[in-house]
Amino acid sequence: MTSGISKADFARMIAGAAATIRSQHAVLSELDCAAGDGDHGATMLRTVDRLEKAFAPGGPEDLKTCLKDAGWSVLGVDGGASSSLLGVFFGGMADAAANDMTGMFEAGLAALRKQTKAQPGDKTMMDALVPAIQALRAAADSGKSVHEALFDAAAAARAGAEATRSLTARYGRAKFLGEKTLGHADPGAVSISLLFEGFYKGFSNLKGESGNA
């Protein structure tokens, strides 16, 4: 079954993502101190604030419109590389049909790829994002529920982020630190895994409450 989601579903996912980021932002900044300029946690806090606002009640009813607005708003975080990339990602999600969550995430990734040549293995957010979205596709193709799909995606993102420890950075500010980045996970990749963990929790909690998976 292809899994459509509503604005309400996505709003819950965003709320979940905001919660995980807020609980972990200090870790993100520490990682960025080791391999960048130390501001990634602060940037992600401003990013999730804006994502939440874009999905706040009273906003447009249409999910695509909300995503476009969210993307634009995140671009405006002025937080360097990651906020530009995440803005492109969320904005790009609006390019696909709203009744296909997997397609939307794929559309976001496609938009992102227009802005960066980074591939998994280059120690960037791509190391978490690409496997996460591949997991969504696999789940959808094998007819899993959104709940299950998001669970698989979060697991894949975490694994991808973990794996960046053993990589040396080839993109972004960290590129210039080369070998020195070995042993530290990439902050952007960890952010992606936190976002997907939040998507899963946010989506499922309430489904859980409403009793069915």
């Binding site: 300029d37 634009w72 671009l75 937080g79 360097g80 990339l85 993109y171 210039f176």
Partner: protein, 331 residues
């Protein structure tokens, strides 16, 4: 070492510093739109607009060079962080006086991402914009993509800004900026770290008797970590690398800029410059123009950037043209 900075809430640093900057230079600049630094008196219609973007925390860079004869608008991001595309697009719209806009971008990952997005949006709106990238830091290697934009932005702003002020068309302004860019090289050295004003953390570590040649604008590592050297030894090592990379021949005319990183004194910069001049004389290379001071800093980092640029007659004329930017006044 504990950070000791005169700030208020870390999250307000950029808004407060921009406000103070504008209040202290009412005749020269003002804040417009979404905290964009613009000229107090906009440029005459029909002249090319010149816009730049960059993170904050590097004062007087980049916004200190907005003014008659240089930039029209500077888009300042958060501390060490590029501003996003929306404010850059807003700046380009505002700077367009009907003759198009030159968008000068320093090669740093975040800045380039924002700039590329901005260019796509501007094109979609049918705005007449050309983007030029500065990447003159030879420590990055030979691939231009790996060469960061350091203090070389200054001559590029200056000559492109002067050309625009003269009323030269966008293509010519862009060609001049690129010619300046192709003919300049920079190398940075650091001896002591800065603390990040928002996090209070040191941005890199260096041994008590070490210096690092090739250190980037935000403490991104360089290639040459070595024992601390004298002023003359350091100047000589760096100048030789720069002259070689730019392939400077005897009798050519150079612009030399010595830019202090923050805590390194003007006293030291003069001592360093003195030896640069001696080495150039010995090689029969002409020192056409020079500038010594703090143009782009990294908080209280200690170290400096040495920049050389090959000048032709037009570039010299444009470098000498008047400017009324708060931190680059030329009569």
């Amino acid at each position: 070492m504990k950070m000791k900075k005169f700030i208020n809430k870390p999250e307000n640093i950029v808004a407060e510093l921009l406000a103070g900057f504008a209040l202290s230079h009412p005749g020269q600049i003002r804040l417009v739109g979404s905290n964009l630094v613009a000229r107090a008196v906009p440029k005459a219609k029909g002249k090319v607009g010149v816009v730049t973007l960059g993170g904050s925390g590097h004062e007087p860079g980049l916004s200190g060079f907005v003014g008659e004869g240089m930039l029209d608008i500077s888009v300042a991001g958060e501390i060490f962080a590029a501003p996003g595309a929306p404010r850059c697009l807003e700046a380009i719209r505002l700077a367009n006086n009907g003759a198009g806009v030159l968008f000068i971008v320093l090669n740093h990952a975040g800045d380039v991402l924002s700039a590329n997005l901005t260019m796509e949006m501007a094109k979609r709106e049918g705005l007449n914009v050309k983007m030029t990238l500065t990447h003159e830091d030879i420590s990055g290697g030979t691939d231009p993509e790996d060469r960061r934009g350091l203090v070389g932005f200054l001559p590029v702003y200056k000559v492109a800004g002067a050309a625009a002020e003269e009323g030269q068309p966008l293509d010519a302004c862009c060609e001049i900026a690129e010619r300046m860019g192709r003919n300049m090289r920079t190398l940075a050295v650091a001896v002591a770290t800065a603390t990040h004003p928002s996090t209070g953390q040191p941005i890199f570590e260096l041994g008590d008797d070490e210096m690092e040649i090739g250190m980037g604008q935000h403490g991104e590592a360089g290639t040459g970590r070595m024992k601390l050297k004298t002023a003359d030894e350091t100047a000589e090592i760096m100048l030789d690398m720069l002259l070689k990379d730019l392939d400077v021949k005897a009798r050519e005319e150079l612009l030399v800029i010595v830019n202090g990183a923050g805590a390194t004194t003007l006293m030291e910069l003069f001592i360093l410059f003195r030896h640069v001049d001696q080495v150039l004389k010995a090689k029969g290379i002409k020192l056409a123009r020079a500038k010594v001071g703090e143009f782009i800093t990294t908080q209280e980092q200690a170290g400096f950037q040495l920049m050389i640029a090959r000048l032709d007659n037009e570039l010299i004329r444009l470098w000498d043209a008047p400017s009324n930017a708060p931190y680059f006044v030329v009569r």
